[in-house]
């Protein structure tokens, strides 16, 4: 106990004195024999906060098993699978589910195709200014919420918007993209692009540039290097980016709601409408549970094949498959 940190002289800085106080409090509340439990204490706040979310699933699961009684407009007392049966039989939900799933596939493919070259250039460029430009261009929309960006797209694609002004200037007929499925997809790809690049970049950083150079110097054409070197080596990042983009698209609400003009709802809109417009909490809950299950199943299957990838919080033996 001869270390300087324990010298309680008058010249001891105020910061250290404060730490001494904290240390004394810790000694009382969390004595050394509890040290083995410290990691669990560290986890407690995050576990409790996430618990609020988990707790919310219970009343939802409960409500999903109680069909609406049309006579009293209240949820039934007894459990039944009526809500899930309604989902399976009402064609409108099939249409919405298909529309959402299609969007998930198209947006994921388009976003990855646009994000990969961006991430590659950001990681590989020798010019600091270009890297900075790419980073800032990425973060600016990332930090501007979905509602504001959707508003921007409405101004671009609207009847008197930028796009039609440009088409008019070129002597071309005006387009009517606003409030279409295509508009929703455009908005979604733009929204997802920063997510995808940010998940791809660390994976590409992990690929040594020498491997690419070696491949090229051995005579591989750029596409062969991409196909046989980059793609397999950056796989964790590609998988993570794909999962993030696909699930975020599958569950998106704002873009189809704002850009779709009411006729291009996704599943999330159907959940919202069931709760707040139809007043049928049971049906809404069943839809929500269904959406959660589909999303989790997709993530689960991909993770089972590829491991937690860059989605896991820590690299560890447990996480590698």
């Amino acid at each position: 106990m001869a270390s300087t940190i324990h010298d309680k002289g008058a010249g001891r800085p105020i910061g250290l004195r404060l730490l001494d106080l904290l240390e004394a409090a810790r000694e009382r509340l969390w004595p050394a024999r509890m040290a083995a439990l410290t990691p669990w204490l560290f986890l407690l706040p995050a576990v409790l906060l996430t618990g609020l979310l988990a707790a919310g699933l219970i009343p939802l699961l409960d409500a999903s098993l109680r069909p609406l009684d049309r006579a009293t407009f209240r949820l039934a007392e007894d459990y039944a699978l009526g809500n899930y049966a309604t989902l399976a039989t009402r064609p409108v939900y099939g249409v919405i589910a298909l529309r959402t799933l299609m969007a998930g596939l198209v947006v994921t493919a388009a976003t990855l195709a646009l994000a990969f070259p961006y991430a590659w250039m950001m990681v590989r460029t020798p010019h600091a200014w270009l890297r900075k430009l790419l980073l800032v261009s990425l973060f600016l929309p990332f930090f501007i919420g979905q509602v504001v960006r959707a508003y921007g797209w409405l101004i671009i694609l609207g009847k008197q918007g930028l796009l039609n002004a440009l088409l008019d200037g070129l002597g071309l007929p005006p387009s009517s993209l606003a409030f279409t499925y295509t508009a929703v997809l455009i908005g979604l790809v733009q929204y997802m692009l920063p997510f995808a690049v940010l998940m791809l970049a660390p994976a590409l950083t992990a690929v040594p540039v020498e491997v690419e150079l070696a491949s090229a110097s051995l005579g591989a054409r750029p596409f062969a290097t991409f196909r046989h070197i980059l793609l397999p080596m950056a796989r964790p990042g590609i998988v993570a980016a794909g999962i993030v983009v696909f699930t975020l698209t599958l569950t998106d609400f704002a873009m189809p709601e704002i850009m779709g003009g009411g006729g291009n709802d996704f599943i999330a809109s159907a959940v919202y409408d069931a709760f707040f417009q139809l007043g049928d909490a049971g049906l809404g809950a069943a839809l929500g549970i269904g959406l959660t299950l589909v999303g989790s199943a997709v993530v689960g299957v991909i993770l089972a094949f590829f491991g937690l990838g860059t989605l896991g919080y820590v690299e560890g033996r447990e996480q590698r498959s």
Binding site: A46, P117, I155, F275
Partner: protein, 268 residues
């Protein structure tokens, strides 16, 4: 040689398209906010600050912005300790059920936002938390917590565990070691995470839509409601507030930790 020249062209063209694609909505909002007319047309018929002047008069927008900032502060204040400690625990200790814990802590990400929103609304209702602004901050923290944990965990994975061992060896008790060795070492991740959490919370929309009423409405919800009725240039001026916030956050992030932190590999 021709092959690599062609590849460079293709990559360059895609990246150029990306840059335009990413910037377009922001640029258009900026331009539209200075229009003198009551509808948005291109090219703008002139230059005017009238919508900004109107904005200064509009109490509902100022109030909503203030509420959104409160939401951001509550969210950051909660996620800062919760996310940092969780990331440290996950990365520094060999825990039982580590994989299960990670999956549990990824719940905010696997549960769709619309479901989280309804679920939190039911839970908050039972706890008597509805009708105030701070619970929206709690909700923003809950649904975005993975971002905080990711940011800190990335820093912890780079941290040399021998530093803490050395501190302990020199006789530093746990709290001293935590505040003088561990925390400074992971500070870049903590700062990055805190900033991202604040921005995400100020922008949070869908869950806020369900947790707020006319008295507690936040800015994104107010903008959303306004877009649904009619698209007027005053919204563009409101949106510029978000552009300014984003620019400030990026500048801070670059000054404090450097944007390059996002390029680091996890294995590094």
């Amino acid at each position: 040689m021709t092959g690599s020249r062609k590849a460079a062209w293709i990559i360059g063209a895609i990246v150029a398209f990306d840059l335009l694609f990413l910037a377009l909505p922001t640029l258009v909002v900026l331009v539209a906010s200075f229009t003198p007319g009551t509808i948005i047309t291109f090219p703008p018929p002139g230059f005017s600050l009238r919508w900004y002047a109107d904005l200064l008069q509009a109490r509902d927008f100022a109030d909503a912005l203030w509420r959104s900032l409160q939401v951001g502060l509550v969210c950051t204040a909660l996620s800062l300790p919760a996310g940092t400690l969780a990331a440290l625990a996950l990365a520094r200790f060999r825990l039982r059920f580590a994989t299960g814990l990670q999956i549990y802590l990824l719940l905010p990400f696997t549960i769709p936002l619309v479901v989280s929103g309804v679920g939190l609304m039911l839970v908050f209702g039972r706890l008597g938390w509805l009708g105030a602004v701070w619970p929206v901050g709690v909700a923003a923290c809950v649904i975005n917590l993975p971002f905080m944990i990711w940011a800190v965990a990335a820093s912890v994975n780079h941290l040399d565990p021998d530093l803490e061992n050395a501190a302990a060896n020199c006789g530093a008790p746990p709290v001293h070691s935590f505040f003088t060795v561990t925390l400074p070492a992971v500070a870049p991740g903590v700062l990055t995470g805190a900033l991202i959490m604040f921005i995400l919370a100020v922008n949070e929309f869908l869950v806020s839509l369900m947790l707020t009423d006319a008295r507690t409405v936040t800015l994104p919800v107010l903008v959303y409601n306004a877009i649904r009725s009619i698209i007027t240039p005053d919204l563009a001026a409101v949106s510029v507030v978000y552009v300014i916030l984003a620019v400030a956050a990026i500048w801070l992030l670059d000054r404090l930790v450097g944007l390059d932190i996002f390029l680091k590999s996890k294995q590094g």
